[in-house]
């Protein structure tokens, strides 16, 4: 009898969680406002007062060698002052009149102003230094693609209430399989193999989480170790001794979309890239439409929020979860094959924690495909800036820039700047009574 009482109690408490979401909490008001003011002060101090007074910033919309690239110069120090003062004003506005709807735009504007001042500072370091906006954004997208795919996998799994900490492992398995099959049978087969390996690990996650009711975080951690161990083992056994027959997959070449690819800045940025990136565009739209516009998506969300209610109206809860987790695994596996066809060879632990950043992007993007994509792009941009800084401005420790995605995620889950909430039943196994 005691077990019968438990679930109802949990449900009541879940309702409490929803009630506690006040419009703008004091923590959010102070946290966001003060961060903006501090950000503005840092901008003024670092890029204004301590900035490069003798040089103008030279900004280019294309690589240095290329022809017909629009470029212009701006005075870096005044830009930093204007950006800093505006950021402080934004912070003060938020502190005085916090409106829930303004939160995103205000925070976005604050971060944007900071980045503008940073770029101008970078581009004014010496008379030779320039900043290539298009180049940086291209590499941001390149770095973001696996994160987007991993986060989409997370959306699929966690919207149907299966926590997936094993995105990293699924990517690693996908990367290994596409390196092997890509070498043996070519790119297309390699892509399929990557997706298949990811799906296989997804299926393992699904079976253990749904059938054997194993704690899902434990499971994710263990599957990551398993994937790292297995891929490392078979790398040492087969790939390392004779890379030319097992580990030399062809690289993916870029395809230019006929008309769209010729648009000045946007063309090279979005429409002159590899198949897997186009596939990512399609998947973003597909998952978003699928989740919010189809019957399957409605059912998935129902299963993730209140499985008992979903079961009552005749939805097969467990089947929904199986399908979603396996499809999610396939998407993550595809993310893994991106590493192979962009970098060229499988190495041990080639994903190097990207699966965990994808998890962060998922949480930061509030478990929605669009949010996760935006977060992944933001994290990709942070990585691209980190690479840029480590080359062009060694005086700024690039390790701190690399930390930003993780700090941002902690801040987001702590509710200091807006509360994130997971699907209500996320991580709870469902047992029919």
């Amino acid at each position: 009898m005691t077990t019968a009482v438990e679930p109802t109690e949990t449900t009541e408490l879940t309702v409490e969680h929803v009630v506690t979401r006040a419009p703008v909490s004091r923590a959010q008001r102070l946290g966001a406002g003060i961060s903006l003011v501090v950000l503005g002060l840092v901008t003024i101090w670092r890029f204004g007062i301590e900035g490069h007074h003798d040089q103008d910033a030279s900004i280019r919309l294309g690589a240095v060698g290329a022809e017909n690239v629009p470029h212009f110069t701006v005075p870096a120090v005044p830009v930093a002052w204007v950006a800093g003062v505006l950021t402080i004003l934004l912070g003060i506005v938020w502190l005085l009149v916090p409106r829930r709807r303004w939160f995103g735009p205000i925070m976005g504007a604050g971060i944007f102003l900071f980045v503008v001042a940073l770029i101008c500072w970078l581009a004014s370091a010496s008379e030779f230094s320039t900043f290539d906006v298009v180049g940086t954004l291209t590499s941001s997208i390149g770095l973001a693609v696996p994160l987007i795919l991993g986060a989409l996998c997370g959306v699929m799994c966690e919207r149907s209430a299966v926590i997936n900490v094993a995105i990293e492992g699924q990517m690693l398995a996908g990367a290994w399989a596409s390196a092997l099959i890509g070498t043996l049978l070519g790119v297309t087969a390699g892509l399929f193999a990557g997706a298949f390996a990811g799906a296989l690990l997804g299926a393992l996650l699904a079976v253990f989480a749904i059938r054997y009711l194993v704690n899902q975080v434990v499971l994710g951690v263990v599957l990551n170790v398993l994937a790292a161990g297995l891929t490392g083992f078979f790398y040492d056994v087969f790939m390392q001794p004779n890379p030319e027959s097992y580990n030399q997959p062809p690289l993916l070449e870029n395809h230019k979309v006929p008309l769209l690819g010729d648009i000045p800045v946007i063309g090279p940025l979005f429409f002159d890239t590899s198949v897997i990136v186009y596939l990512t565009y399609i998947l973003i739209v597909l998952v978003d439409v699928w989740l919010f516009r189809t019957r399957w998506g409605l059912r998935t969300r129902a299963v993730g929020e209140h499985p008992k209610a979903a079961d009552t109206v005749g939805i097969n809860v467990l089947a929904m979860r199986y399908r979603n987790v396996i499809i999610g695994g396939a998407i993550a596996g595809l993310g893994g094959s991106y590493f192979i066809f962009a970098v060229g060879q499988f190495q041990k632990n080639i994903t190097s924690g990207q699966g965990f950043i994808a998890l962060a992007a998922l949480i930061f993007g509030r478990w929605s495909p669009r949010g996760a994509t935006a977060a992944a792009l933001l994290f990709g941009f942070a990585s691209a800036m980190q690479l840029n800084l480590s080359i062009n401005a060694p005086s700024i420790p690039s390790a701190f820039v690399a930390m930003l995605p993780y700090i941002a995620t902690i801040v987001a889950v702590a509710g200091l700047v807006g509360k994130v909430r997971a699907p209500a039943a996320d991580g709870e196994p469902y047992v029919k009574e």
Binding site: H17, V217, V222, L230, Y235, D236
Partner: protein, 423 residues
């Protein structure tokens, strides 16, 4: 009680007070003894199953078996014999690397006799400490996935005290150990405070803190005063001799004083969990935070306390790494201990004695894996595979029972943690 265990499906969701972890139970009744026996049985079978699968992998990795497999359908016997031979040789090498090696022992030196055991103990030391950290947090209902970050912070603090200050021998070591504990506790405490004050899920925050610690370490290893002067590599100054943990069996084998720290910590944590008021409070909070709150316990304080202690334990693992096994900090000072510790805690079923045993087992696997790689060429990654399979099987006892066709039920480990991000 017995009704509850008879229903395997209800087990993971059931409230923990109704199905307490094995060693919480009142004086052993017949029911308790049966449960313990059966969970031990599952553990053993999980180990055997994982080793069998590992044996298949060794056979696949063996060149002779590979060659014989080309004519498998004409003459399968070769493939099978070579495969069995390879698996046997691999596991013999594993045993020789972990427990006793007759070949080196024939030299008659101390290192020849005790070398393998010393390697096992050296590998087990940080695993036990990390396992205690994760296990303690499990008991309080928290999942400390941030061992990696806490080990790194512990190693940074202990290492800094070790190479930056000049202190008298005993004091220096003590200061280094304390600094390491503080470093780890600080990092664990951040997750505890965030959980207590804002409800941020500790799994998410500790994963993020791991990466922040990694990048912080990368930064430190490029900074003057921390990075070894004149060295282009990412390596710190070496720790002074006065701050190093003493070698236990003379200089010829590696086992060091960290082992004593691990044993002391295991005794202390065992006492803390089972005998102290604080431990009772932590277990109560882990079992049912709402009931504990109603009973007047401060759930928030418990979260902070447990994460501070868990962090300090991982900090000690970092101490063992930097003041014992190695002498300077490098980028991979954590050596994967944070994640291995989770498997140790799960295999040890989150109690001190079990964790010590599990730590020794995985320490032996690591030590043996190194020997296996050098003797038979089987990649050491096999150890990771076996380790994860063992934990996977003990986490899903129903599967093990299905494989070996045994009747009965056992609760899966970590079942009491079956709650989501919002929980």
């Amino acid at each position: 009680m017995s009704e509850q265990t008879a229903d395997p499906a209800a087990e993971p969701q059931a409230s923990p007070p109704a199905s307490p972890p094995a060693d919480d139970a009142p004086p052993p009744s017949g029911w308790f003894a049966r449960l313990w026996a059966s969970s031990l049985l599952v553990t053993v079978l999980a180990f055997v199953t994982a080793m069998l699968i590992g044996g298949v992998l060794i056979a696949i990795a063996d060149p002779k078996t590979q060659a014989a497999s080309h004519y498998f359908f004409q003459y399968p016997w070769d493939t099978i014999t070579y495969g069995l031979q390879a698996a046997w040789n691999g596991y013999v090498a594993l045993f020789e690397g972990a427990i006793f090696n007759p070949n080196t022992a024939s030299d008659g030196t101390l290192a020849g006799y005790l070398g393998p055991i010393s390697e096992t103990l050296t590998n087990a030391t940080p695993l036990i400490l990390g396992g205690l950290s994760v296990g303690l947090a499990f008991r309080a209902g928290l999942f400390n996935i941030g061992g990696q970050g806490q080990v790194i912070m512990g190693a940074i603090f202990a290492g800094f005290v070790g190479f930056h200050y000049d202190l008298p021998p005993g004091l220096h070591l003590l200061a280094g150990i304390l600094a390491g504990m503080v470093g780890g506790a600080l990092w664990g405490g951040v997750a505890g405070v965030l959980k207590a004050k804002t409800g941020a899920h500790e799994v998410i925050t500790t994963i993020m803190l791991n990466y922040i610690a990694l990048y912080f370490l990368a930064y430190l290893l490029s900074v003057k005063g921390f990075q070894r002067a004149g060295s282009g590599q990412a390596i710190s100054y070496p720790v002074h001799g006065s701050a190093q943990l003493p070698s236990l069996l003379g200089g010829s084998v590696r086992v060091h004083g960290g082992l004593i720290l691990a044993v002391l910590a295991a005794v202390a944590i065992g006492w803390l969990i089972d005998r102290s008021t604080l431990g009772f409070r932590l277990r109560a909070v882990g079992a049912n935070q709402f009931a504990s709150r109603t009973a007047g316990m401060s759930v928030e304080n418990s979260y902070i306390t447990v994460m501070l202690i868990a962090g300090a334990l991982c900090g000690l693992a970092g101490v063992s790494q930097i003041l014992g096994t190695n002498s300077s900090i490098t980028g991979d000072i954590d050596a994967g201990i944070g994640f291995d510790a989770i498997t140790v805690a799960l295999l040890g079923r989150a109690n001190a004695k079990g964790i010590v045993a599990a730590g020794l087992l995985f320490g032996a696997l690591h030590a043996g894996g190194t020997q296996m790689q050098s003797a038979t060429g089987t990649p050491i990654d096999l150890v990771q595979v076996i380790q994860s399979l063992i934990v996977l099987f003990i986490a899903a006892p129903m599967l093990v029972r299905a494989i070996w066709r045994i009747k009965g039920t056992t609760a899966g480990v970590g079942g009491q943690l079956a709650k989501g991000w919002n929980g």
